[in-house]
Protein backbone atom coordinates (compact mmCIF):
# COMPACT_ATOMS: atom_id res chain seq x y z
CA UNK A 1 0.00 0.00 0.00
CA UNK A 2 1.47 3.30 -1.09
CA UNK A 3 1.24 6.55 0.80
CA UNK A 4 0.65 7.30 4.45
CA UNK A 5 -2.28 6.01 6.41
CA UNK A 6 -3.28 6.92 9.96
CA UNK A 7 -6.01 4.66 11.28
CA UNK A 8 -8.06 5.40 14.38
CA UNK A 9 -5.22 7.25 16.04
CA UNK A 10 -5.53 8.43 19.61
CA UNK A 11 -2.63 10.14 21.30
CA UNK A 12 -2.33 11.79 24.70
CA UNK A 13 0.80 13.65 25.79
CA UNK A 14 2.18 12.41 29.12
CA UNK A 15 0.57 14.41 31.91
CA UNK A 16 -2.20 15.84 29.72
CA UNK A 17 -5.82 15.30 30.76
CA UNK A 18 -7.20 15.29 27.22
CA UNK A 19 -5.94 13.42 24.17
CA UNK A 20 -4.58 15.78 21.54
CA UNK A 21 -5.82 13.47 18.78
CA UNK A 22 -8.81 11.18 19.11
CA UNK A 23 -9.79 8.43 16.68
CA UNK A 24 -8.16 10.28 13.84
CA UNK A 25 -8.20 8.86 10.32
CA UNK A 26 -6.13 10.32 7.54
CA UNK A 27 -4.78 9.17 4.22
CA UNK A 28 -2.04 10.93 2.28
CA UNK A 29 -1.34 9.61 -1.21
CA UNK A 30 2.23 9.11 -2.31
CA UNK A 31 3.94 11.84 -4.32
CA UNK A 32 1.56 14.60 -3.24
CA UNK A 33 2.18 17.80 -1.35
CA UNK A 34 -0.10 18.07 1.65
CA UNK A 35 -0.27 21.00 4.05
CA UNK A 36 -1.57 20.58 7.58
CA UNK A 37 -3.13 23.71 9.03
CA UNK A 38 -4.74 24.39 12.39
CA UNK A 39 -4.44 26.43 15.57
CA UNK A 40 -1.38 26.19 17.78
CA UNK A 41 -1.60 23.01 19.83
CA UNK A 42 -4.18 21.40 17.56
CA UNK A 43 -1.96 18.36 17.01
CA UNK A 44 -0.38 19.04 13.60
CA UNK A 45 3.13 18.45 14.89
CA UNK A 46 1.91 15.39 16.75
CA UNK A 47 0.78 13.90 13.44
CA UNK A 48 4.21 14.59 11.94
CA UNK A 49 5.92 12.92 14.88
CA UNK A 50 3.61 9.90 14.74
CA UNK A 51 4.43 9.41 11.06
CA UNK A 52 8.16 9.42 11.82
CA UNK A 53 7.79 7.16 14.86
CA UNK A 54 9.11 9.83 17.23
CA UNK A 55 5.85 9.34 19.12
CA UNK A 56 3.89 6.13 19.42
CA UNK A 57 0.08 6.29 19.33
CA UNK A 58 -1.94 5.07 22.33
CA UNK A 59 -4.37 3.46 19.93
CA UNK A 60 -4.59 2.88 16.21
CA UNK A 61 -1.84 2.38 13.70
CA UNK A 62 0.26 4.39 11.28
CA UNK A 63 1.34 2.85 7.99
CA UNK A 64 4.01 4.54 5.86
CA UNK A 65 4.35 3.08 2.36
CA UNK A 66 3.30 -0.33 3.56
CA UNK A 67 5.41 -0.23 6.69
CA UNK A 68 3.63 -0.25 10.05
CA UNK A 69 5.17 2.20 12.50
CA UNK A 70 6.50 0.14 15.40
CA UNK A 71 9.68 0.01 17.47
CA UNK A 72 11.13 -2.65 15.15
CA UNK A 73 10.89 -0.52 12.05
CA UNK A 74 12.28 2.71 13.43
CA UNK A 75 15.62 2.51 11.62
CA UNK A 76 13.96 2.00 8.25
CA UNK A 77 11.37 4.60 9.09
CA UNK A 78 13.89 7.31 10.02
CA UNK A 79 15.54 6.72 6.67
CA UNK A 80 12.29 6.93 4.71
CA UNK A 81 10.78 9.88 6.56
CA UNK A 82 12.72 13.08 7.19
CA UNK A 83 11.57 16.05 9.28
CA UNK A 84 12.80 19.63 9.07
CA UNK A 85 12.01 21.37 12.35
CA UNK A 86 11.25 25.01 13.12
CA UNK A 87 14.48 26.29 14.65
CA UNK A 88 17.32 26.14 12.10
CA UNK A 89 19.97 26.12 14.83
CA UNK A 90 18.64 23.32 16.96
CA UNK A 91 18.86 20.62 14.30
CA UNK A 92 22.30 21.42 12.99
CA UNK A 93 24.49 18.71 14.51
CA UNK A 94 27.67 18.83 12.45
CA UNK A 95 30.60 21.18 12.80
CA UNK A 96 30.38 22.01 9.09
CA UNK A 97 27.73 21.72 6.39
CA UNK A 98 29.20 18.47 5.01
CA UNK A 99 29.53 16.99 8.50
CA UNK A 100 25.92 17.78 9.23
CA UNK A 101 24.66 16.05 6.09
CA UNK A 102 26.92 13.13 6.96
CA UNK A 103 25.28 12.71 10.37
CA UNK A 104 22.25 10.76 9.10
CA UNK A 105 24.42 8.72 6.77
CA UNK A 106 26.79 7.79 9.60
CA UNK A 107 23.78 6.60 11.56
CA UNK A 108 22.86 4.36 8.61
CA UNK A 109 26.44 3.04 8.71
CA UNK A 110 27.12 3.84 5.08
CA UNK A 111 30.70 3.44 3.85
CA UNK A 112 32.65 6.65 3.38
CA UNK A 113 32.74 6.61 -0.44
CA UNK A 114 28.99 6.31 -0.56
CA UNK A 115 28.67 9.15 1.95
CA UNK A 116 30.85 11.47 -0.11
CA UNK A 117 28.86 10.68 -3.24
CA UNK A 118 25.54 11.32 -1.55
CA UNK A 119 26.70 14.48 0.23
CA UNK A 120 27.93 15.98 -3.04
CA UNK A 121 24.68 15.13 -4.74
CA UNK A 122 22.51 16.47 -1.92
CA UNK A 123 24.51 19.70 -1.73
CA UNK A 124 24.10 20.22 -5.46
CA UNK A 125 20.37 19.66 -5.20
CA UNK A 126 19.92 22.34 -2.57
CA UNK A 127 22.39 24.65 -4.33
CA UNK A 128 24.99 24.77 -1.58
CA UNK A 129 27.98 22.94 -3.04
CA UNK A 130 30.18 26.00 -2.48
CA UNK A 131 29.51 25.99 1.24
CA UNK A 132 30.35 22.36 2.08
CA UNK A 133 33.06 23.27 4.59
CA UNK A 134 31.30 26.25 6.15
CA UNK A 135 30.54 26.38 9.86
CA UNK A 136 26.93 26.84 10.94
CA UNK A 137 27.59 30.17 12.68
CA UNK A 138 28.39 31.68 9.28
CA UNK A 139 25.15 30.50 7.64
CA UNK A 140 21.82 32.31 7.44
CA UNK A 141 18.66 30.66 8.72
CA UNK A 142 17.52 29.86 5.20
CA UNK A 143 20.84 28.24 4.40
CA UNK A 144 20.69 26.13 7.56
CA UNK A 145 17.22 24.90 6.64
CA UNK A 146 18.47 23.98 3.18
CA UNK A 147 21.26 22.01 4.82
CA UNK A 148 18.62 20.24 6.92
CA UNK A 149 16.75 19.37 3.72
CA UNK A 150 19.98 18.17 2.11
CA UNK A 151 20.62 15.97 5.14
CA UNK A 152 17.25 14.34 4.54
CA UNK A 153 17.63 14.08 0.75
CA UNK A 154 20.98 12.33 1.24
CA UNK A 155 19.08 9.51 2.94
CA UNK A 156 17.01 9.09 -0.25
CA UNK A 157 13.70 9.35 1.62
CA UNK A 158 10.13 8.84 0.48
CA UNK A 159 8.54 11.40 2.74
CA UNK A 160 9.79 14.82 3.75
CA UNK A 161 7.98 16.78 6.46
CA UNK A 162 8.52 20.49 7.14
CA UNK A 163 7.20 21.38 10.59
CA UNK A 164 6.91 25.19 10.46
CA UNK A 165 10.36 25.10 8.93
CA UNK A 166 10.06 28.53 7.35
CA UNK A 167 8.46 30.39 10.25
CA UNK A 168 11.72 31.69 11.73
CA UNK A 169 13.22 32.75 8.39
CA UNK A 170 13.36 36.19 6.80
CA UNK A 171 11.44 36.60 3.51
CA UNK A 172 14.53 35.97 1.38
CA UNK A 173 15.37 32.78 3.30
CA UNK A 174 11.76 31.62 3.20
CA UNK A 175 11.64 32.15 -0.54
CA UNK A 176 14.77 30.05 -1.18
CA UNK A 177 13.37 27.19 0.89
CA UNK A 178 9.99 27.35 -0.86
CA UNK A 179 11.68 27.45 -4.28
CA UNK A 180 13.64 24.37 -3.32
CA UNK A 181 10.44 22.58 -2.29
CA UNK A 182 8.74 23.54 -5.54
CA UNK A 183 11.67 21.99 -7.34
CA UNK A 184 11.53 18.81 -5.24
CA UNK A 185 7.85 18.26 -5.87
CA UNK A 186 8.73 17.56 -9.51
CA UNK A 187 10.00 14.23 -8.29
CA UNK A 188 6.76 12.35 -8.31
CA UNK A 189 7.80 9.71 -5.79
CA UNK A 190 8.52 12.20 -2.98
CA UNK A 191 5.65 12.86 -0.59
CA UNK A 192 5.84 16.35 0.92
CA UNK A 193 4.03 17.34 4.10
CA UNK A 194 4.26 20.91 5.37
CA UNK A 195 2.88 22.42 8.54
CA UNK A 196 2.49 26.17 8.24
CA UNK A 197 0.62 29.39 8.96
CA UNK A 198 2.01 31.06 5.85
CA UNK A 199 -0.59 31.62 3.09
CA UNK A 200 2.01 31.51 0.31
CA UNK A 201 3.21 28.11 1.49
CA UNK A 202 -0.40 26.89 1.72
CA UNK A 203 -1.16 27.87 -1.86
CA UNK A 204 1.72 25.69 -3.05
CA UNK A 205 0.18 22.47 -1.73
CA UNK A 206 -1.94 19.98 -3.66
CA UNK A 207 -4.07 19.24 -0.67
CA UNK A 208 -4.85 20.94 2.63
CA UNK A 209 -5.87 19.13 5.79
CA UNK A 210 -7.44 21.11 8.62
CA UNK A 211 -6.60 19.72 12.04
CA UNK A 212 -8.98 20.87 14.76
CA UNK A 213 -10.63 19.56 17.92
CA UNK A 214 -8.67 16.32 18.18
CA UNK A 215 -9.25 15.30 14.60
CA UNK A 216 -9.54 16.26 10.95
CA UNK A 217 -12.05 19.10 10.58
CA UNK A 218 -11.82 19.34 6.81
CA UNK A 219 -9.65 18.27 3.92
CA UNK A 220 -9.59 18.86 0.22
CA UNK A 221 -7.74 20.35 -2.73
CA UNK A 222 -5.90 23.54 -1.68
CA UNK A 223 -8.25 25.81 -3.65
CA UNK A 224 -11.31 24.42 -1.94
CA UNK A 225 -10.00 25.06 1.56
CA UNK A 226 -8.36 28.41 0.81
CA UNK A 227 -11.60 30.03 -0.33
CA UNK A 228 -13.23 29.40 3.04
CA UNK A 229 -12.24 32.71 4.59
CA UNK A 230 -14.27 32.14 7.77
CA UNK A 231 -12.47 28.88 8.43
CA UNK A 232 -9.04 30.46 7.90
CA UNK A 233 -9.91 33.36 10.20
CA UNK A 234 -11.11 30.98 12.88
CA UNK A 235 -7.92 28.93 12.70
CA UNK A 236 -5.79 32.08 12.93
CA UNK A 237 -3.84 31.26 9.77
CA UNK A 238 -3.01 33.79 7.10
CA UNK A 239 -5.29 34.41 4.13
CA UNK A 240 -3.93 34.33 0.57
CA UNK A 241 -3.68 37.79 -0.95
CA UNK A 242 -6.22 37.28 -3.75
CA UNK A 243 -8.69 35.83 -1.27
CA UNK A 244 -8.15 38.72 1.10
CA UNK A 245 -8.80 41.25 -1.67
CA UNK A 246 -11.84 39.42 -2.95
CA UNK A 247 -13.27 39.32 0.56
CA UNK A 248 -12.77 43.07 0.97
CA UNK A 249 -14.39 43.73 -2.42
CA UNK A 250 -17.33 41.53 -1.51
CA UNK A 251 -17.76 43.49 1.72
CA UNK A 252 -18.01 46.65 -0.38
CA UNK A 253 -20.80 45.11 -2.40
CA UNK A 254 -18.84 43.88 -5.42
CA UNK A 255 -19.99 40.60 -6.96
CA UNK A 256 -16.78 38.55 -6.86
CA UNK A 257 -16.26 35.14 -8.46
CA UNK A 258 -16.98 32.24 -6.14
CA UNK A 259 -14.14 29.86 -5.36
CA UNK A 260 -10.44 30.28 -5.06
CA UNK A 261 -8.37 32.47 -7.37
CA UNK A 262 -4.60 32.70 -7.51
CA UNK A 263 -3.16 36.22 -7.51
CA UNK A 264 -2.66 36.03 -11.27
CA UNK A 265 -6.22 34.84 -11.83
CA UNK A 266 -7.43 37.69 -9.65
CA UNK A 267 -5.48 40.22 -11.72
CA UNK A 268 -6.92 38.65 -14.90
CA UNK A 269 -10.44 38.94 -13.57
CA UNK A 270 -9.94 42.56 -12.48
CA UNK A 271 -8.54 43.46 -15.89
CA UNK A 272 -11.48 41.95 -17.66
CA UNK A 273 -13.94 43.80 -15.46
CA UNK A 274 -12.14 47.12 -15.60
CA UNK A 275 -11.34 47.38 -19.29
Amino acid sequence: MDGIKLENITYTYPGASQPVLKKLNLQLPRGQWTTLIGKNGSGKSTIARLIDGLLVADEGQVIVNGLTVTEDHLTTLHRQVGIVFQNPDNQFVGATVADDIAFGLENQQLPRDEMTRRIDKALARVGMSQLADTEPSLLSGGQKQRVAIAGILALEPQVIILDEATSMLDPAGRQTVLNLLAQLRQEESLTIITITHDPVEMTMADKIVVVDQQGIADEGPAGEILCQADLLHRLGVGIPVAQDLSERLAALGVAVPAGYLTTNEMVEWLCRKLS
Binding site: V93, A95, D99, N107, Q109
Partner: protein
Protein backbone atom coordinates in the same frame (compact mmCIF):
# COMPACT_ATOMS: atom_id res chain seq x y z
CA UNK B 1 27.67 38.41 16.48
CA UNK B 2 30.58 37.57 18.79
CA UNK B 3 33.85 36.67 17.21
CA UNK B 4 36.07 37.64 20.06
CA UNK B 5 39.48 36.01 19.87
CA UNK B 6 39.55 33.56 22.71
CA UNK B 7 42.34 31.45 24.02
CA UNK B 8 42.94 28.54 21.70
CA UNK B 9 41.10 29.70 18.61
CA UNK B 10 42.08 28.37 15.21
CA UNK B 11 44.02 30.55 12.78
CA UNK B 12 43.33 29.28 9.26
CA UNK B 13 46.41 28.67 7.15
CA UNK B 14 48.23 26.20 4.96
CA UNK B 15 51.62 25.83 6.62
CA UNK B 16 53.43 22.52 7.10
CA UNK B 17 52.16 22.52 10.63
CA UNK B 18 48.56 23.09 9.53
CA UNK B 19 48.83 20.13 7.19
CA UNK B 20 50.09 17.66 9.78
CA UNK B 21 47.66 14.98 10.89
CA UNK B 22 45.91 16.18 14.07
CA UNK B 23 46.83 12.89 15.74
CA UNK B 24 50.50 13.58 15.08
CA UNK B 25 50.14 17.11 16.43
CA UNK B 26 48.31 15.94 19.53
CA UNK B 27 50.98 13.30 20.22
CA UNK B 28 53.74 15.84 19.60
CA UNK B 29 52.14 18.28 21.97
CA UNK B 30 51.67 15.69 24.72
CA UNK B 31 55.20 14.35 24.33
CA UNK B 32 56.60 17.87 24.36
CA UNK B 33 54.76 18.74 27.55
CA UNK B 34 56.16 15.62 29.21
CA UNK B 35 59.67 16.58 28.07
CA UNK B 36 59.27 20.03 29.58
CA UNK B 37 59.09 18.41 33.01
CA UNK B 38 62.46 16.78 32.46
CA UNK B 39 64.18 20.06 31.67
CA UNK B 40 66.33 21.13 34.61
CA UNK B 41 69.30 22.96 33.15
CA UNK B 42 69.93 25.95 30.92
CA UNK B 43 70.87 23.65 28.08
CA UNK B 44 67.71 21.54 28.20
CA UNK B 45 65.51 24.59 28.56
CA UNK B 46 67.16 26.37 25.67
CA UNK B 47 66.87 23.31 23.50
CA UNK B 48 63.13 23.04 24.18
CA UNK B 49 62.52 26.75 23.63
CA UNK B 50 64.47 26.59 20.38
CA UNK B 51 62.37 23.66 19.17
CA UNK B 52 59.20 25.54 20.08
CA UNK B 53 60.34 28.69 18.29
CA UNK B 54 61.10 26.69 15.16
CA UNK B 55 57.60 25.20 15.14
CA UNK B 56 56.08 28.61 15.75
CA UNK B 57 57.92 30.04 12.78
CA UNK B 58 56.92 27.03 10.69
CA UNK B 59 53.26 27.53 11.56
CA UNK B 60 53.34 30.92 9.79
CA UNK B 61 51.03 32.30 12.44
CA UNK B 62 52.22 35.74 13.51
CA UNK B 63 53.77 36.03 16.97
CA UNK B 64 51.33 38.86 17.62
CA UNK B 65 48.43 36.42 17.30
CA UNK B 66 50.17 33.93 19.57
CA UNK B 67 50.67 36.64 22.14
CA UNK B 68 46.99 37.54 21.93
CA UNK B 69 46.15 33.91 22.59
CA UNK B 70 48.50 33.65 25.56
CA UNK B 71 47.88 37.08 27.06
CA UNK B 72 44.64 36.21 28.88
CA UNK B 73 46.58 33.60 30.87
CA UNK B 74 49.47 35.95 31.66
CA UNK B 75 47.84 37.03 34.93
CA UNK B 76 47.53 33.51 36.22
CA UNK B 77 51.13 32.80 35.32
CA UNK B 78 52.42 35.97 36.97
CA UNK B 79 50.39 35.31 40.09
CA UNK B 80 51.73 31.77 40.43
CA UNK B 81 55.27 32.98 39.92
CA UNK B 82 54.89 35.78 42.45
CA UNK B 83 53.48 33.33 44.95
CA UNK B 84 56.41 31.02 44.41
CA UNK B 85 58.95 33.83 44.79
CA UNK B 86 57.47 35.22 47.99
CA UNK B 87 56.58 32.07 49.87
CA UNK B 88 59.03 29.30 49.07
CA UNK B 89 61.99 28.74 51.37
CA UNK B 90 65.43 27.17 51.12
CA UNK B 91 68.88 28.45 50.27
CA UNK B 92 70.31 31.86 51.12
CA UNK B 93 67.77 34.52 52.06
CA UNK B 94 67.96 37.72 49.98
CA UNK B 95 65.07 39.69 51.44
CA UNK B 96 62.54 39.28 54.23
CA UNK B 97 59.47 41.30 55.25
CA UNK B 98 56.54 40.20 57.41
CA UNK B 99 55.38 36.84 55.94
CA UNK B 100 57.38 37.20 52.76
CA UNK B 101 60.84 35.89 52.10
CA UNK B 102 62.79 35.85 48.91
CA UNK B 103 65.33 33.04 48.80
CA UNK B 104 67.60 31.67 46.14
CA UNK B 105 65.64 28.42 45.86
CA UNK B 106 62.46 30.41 45.63
CA UNK B 107 63.82 32.41 42.73
CA UNK B 108 65.09 29.34 40.93
CA UNK B 109 61.82 27.47 41.46
CA UNK B 110 59.73 30.34 40.26
CA UNK B 111 61.91 30.72 37.21
CA UNK B 112 61.39 27.05 36.40
CA UNK B 113 57.64 27.32 36.95
CA UNK B 114 57.47 30.41 34.79
CA UNK B 115 59.39 28.62 32.06
CA UNK B 116 57.18 25.51 32.20
CA UNK B 117 53.97 27.47 32.25
CA UNK B 118 54.92 29.69 29.34
CA UNK B 119 56.25 26.88 27.21
CA UNK B 120 53.33 24.55 27.83
CA UNK B 121 50.73 27.25 27.19
CA UNK B 122 52.56 28.31 24.05
CA UNK B 123 52.89 24.76 22.78
CA UNK B 124 49.18 24.09 23.22
CA UNK B 125 48.40 27.41 21.56
CA UNK B 126 50.47 26.28 18.58
CA UNK B 127 48.37 23.12 18.46
CA UNK B 128 45.03 24.92 18.68
CA UNK B 129 46.08 27.70 16.32
CA UNK B 130 47.03 25.28 13.57
CA UNK B 131 44.29 22.67 14.10
CA UNK B 132 40.53 23.27 13.93
CA UNK B 133 38.89 22.31 17.22
CA UNK B 134 36.87 19.68 15.44
CA UNK B 135 40.00 17.91 14.21
CA UNK B 136 41.45 17.98 17.70
CA UNK B 137 38.27 16.29 18.88
CA UNK B 138 38.78 13.67 16.14
CA UNK B 139 42.35 13.11 17.28
CA UNK B 140 41.22 12.86 20.90
CA UNK B 141 38.65 10.29 19.95
CA UNK B 142 41.35 8.25 18.22
CA UNK B 143 43.57 8.55 21.25
CA UNK B 144 40.76 7.35 23.50
CA UNK B 145 39.90 4.30 21.41
CA UNK B 146 41.82 1.92 23.73
CA UNK B 147 39.44 2.99 26.52
CA UNK B 148 36.66 1.13 24.72
CA UNK B 149 38.22 -2.03 26.10
CA UNK B 150 37.20 -0.92 29.59
CA UNK B 151 33.65 -0.04 28.37
CA UNK B 152 34.11 3.71 28.12
CA UNK B 153 31.53 4.96 25.55
CA UNK B 154 34.22 6.72 23.54
CA UNK B 155 32.09 7.41 20.46
CA UNK B 156 29.25 8.95 22.44
CA UNK B 157 31.72 11.09 24.37
CA UNK B 158 33.35 12.36 21.19
CA UNK B 159 30.00 13.11 19.57
CA UNK B 160 29.04 14.97 22.73
CA UNK B 161 32.25 17.00 22.64
CA UNK B 162 31.87 17.91 18.99
CA UNK B 163 28.23 18.97 19.50
CA UNK B 164 29.26 21.03 22.53
CA UNK B 165 31.94 22.75 20.44
CA UNK B 166 29.44 23.34 17.65
CA UNK B 167 27.01 25.06 20.03
CA UNK B 168 29.49 27.35 21.81
CA UNK B 169 29.14 30.23 19.30
CA UNK B 170 25.35 29.82 19.22
CA UNK B 171 25.03 30.01 22.98
CA UNK B 172 27.54 32.87 23.22
CA UNK B 173 25.41 34.87 20.78
CA UNK B 174 22.35 34.05 22.83
CA UNK B 175 24.07 35.18 26.04
CA UNK B 176 25.04 38.50 24.47
CA UNK B 177 21.49 39.01 23.23
CA UNK B 178 19.93 38.27 26.61
CA UNK B 179 22.46 40.48 28.41
CA UNK B 180 21.62 43.32 26.03
CA UNK B 181 17.90 42.82 26.58
CA UNK B 182 18.35 43.00 30.36
CA UNK B 183 20.72 45.98 30.13
CA UNK B 184 18.08 47.67 28.06
CA UNK B 185 15.72 47.05 30.99
CA UNK B 186 18.08 48.97 33.22
CA UNK B 187 20.22 46.13 34.58
CA UNK B 188 23.66 47.36 35.60
CA UNK B 189 26.38 44.75 35.81
CA UNK B 190 29.21 47.09 36.60
CA UNK B 191 28.39 48.34 40.06
CA UNK B 192 28.62 46.81 43.49
CA UNK B 193 30.78 44.09 44.97
CA UNK B 194 31.36 40.59 43.72
CA UNK B 195 28.28 39.06 45.37
CA UNK B 196 25.99 41.79 44.09
CA UNK B 197 27.42 41.38 40.64
CA UNK B 198 26.88 37.64 40.78
CA UNK B 199 23.25 37.97 41.88
CA UNK B 200 22.79 40.36 38.99
CA UNK B 201 23.76 37.55 36.64
CA UNK B 202 20.52 35.71 37.51
CA UNK B 203 18.41 37.53 34.89
CA UNK B 204 20.94 36.41 32.28
CA UNK B 205 21.66 32.90 33.51
CA UNK B 206 18.07 31.73 33.95
CA UNK B 207 16.96 32.60 30.42
CA UNK B 208 20.21 31.11 29.13
CA UNK B 209 19.56 27.82 30.96
CA UNK B 210 15.94 27.71 29.84
CA UNK B 211 17.05 28.33 26.28
CA UNK B 212 19.82 25.74 26.43
CA UNK B 213 17.47 23.08 27.79
CA UNK B 214 15.01 23.82 25.02
CA UNK B 215 17.78 23.59 22.47
CA UNK B 216 18.99 20.30 23.91
CA UNK B 217 15.50 18.84 23.80
CA UNK B 218 14.90 19.92 20.21
CA UNK B 219 18.34 18.73 19.20
CA UNK B 220 17.71 15.31 20.74
CA UNK B 221 14.45 14.98 18.81
CA UNK B 222 16.13 16.07 15.57
CA UNK B 223 18.96 13.59 16.10
CA UNK B 224 16.50 10.79 16.76
CA UNK B 225 14.56 11.71 13.62
CA UNK B 226 17.78 11.41 11.68
CA UNK B 227 18.24 7.87 12.90
CA UNK B 228 20.71 8.39 15.74
CA UNK B 229 20.77 5.49 18.15
CA UNK B 230 23.39 5.75 20.90
CA UNK B 231 23.57 1.98 21.14
CA UNK B 232 24.10 1.36 17.44
CA UNK B 233 27.44 1.45 15.64
CA UNK B 234 28.10 4.33 13.25
CA UNK B 235 30.49 4.90 10.41
CA UNK B 236 32.63 8.05 10.23
CA UNK B 237 32.68 10.66 7.52
CA UNK B 238 35.66 12.54 8.90
CA UNK B 239 38.70 10.43 8.33
CA UNK B 240 42.26 11.16 9.25
CA UNK B 241 45.18 10.41 6.97
CA UNK B 242 48.64 9.61 8.23
CA UNK B 243 51.38 10.64 5.81
CA UNK B 244 55.13 10.27 5.84
CA UNK B 245 55.50 13.84 7.09
CA UNK B 246 53.62 12.80 10.23
CA UNK B 247 56.05 9.95 10.87
CA UNK B 248 58.94 12.33 10.21
CA UNK B 249 57.57 14.83 12.70
CA UNK B 250 57.38 12.15 15.37
CA UNK B 251 60.96 11.07 14.60
CA UNK B 252 62.13 14.67 15.00
CA UNK B 253 60.48 14.82 18.36
CA UNK B 254 62.12 11.53 19.28
CA UNK B 255 65.49 13.11 18.47
CA UNK B 256 64.63 16.09 20.67
CA UNK B 257 63.61 13.74 23.47
CA UNK B 258 66.87 11.80 23.22
CA UNK B 259 68.82 15.05 23.35
CA UNK B 260 66.95 16.38 26.39
CA UNK B 261 67.10 13.10 28.28
CA UNK B 262 70.79 12.64 27.51
CA UNK B 263 71.54 16.13 28.78
CA UNK B 264 69.54 15.42 31.88
CA UNK B 265 70.60 11.90 32.82
CA UNK B 266 73.82 11.06 31.06
CA UNK B 267 75.96 14.17 31.02
Amino acid sequence: MTNAIVFGSYVPGDSRLHRLDPRAKLLLCIAYVILVFFANSWATCLLLVAALLVTMVMSRVSFRLYWRGIRPLAWIILLTVAFQVLFSTGGPVYWRWWLFTVTRDGLVNSLIIFFRFMVIVTASTVLTATTPTLRIADALSWLMQPLKAIKVPVNQITLMISIALRFIPTIMDEAVKIANAQRSRGMNLDEGGLIRRLTRMVPILIPLFVDSFKRAEELATAMEARGYDPAAPRTHYRQLHWYRRDTVSLLLLLALAVAVLTLRFVI
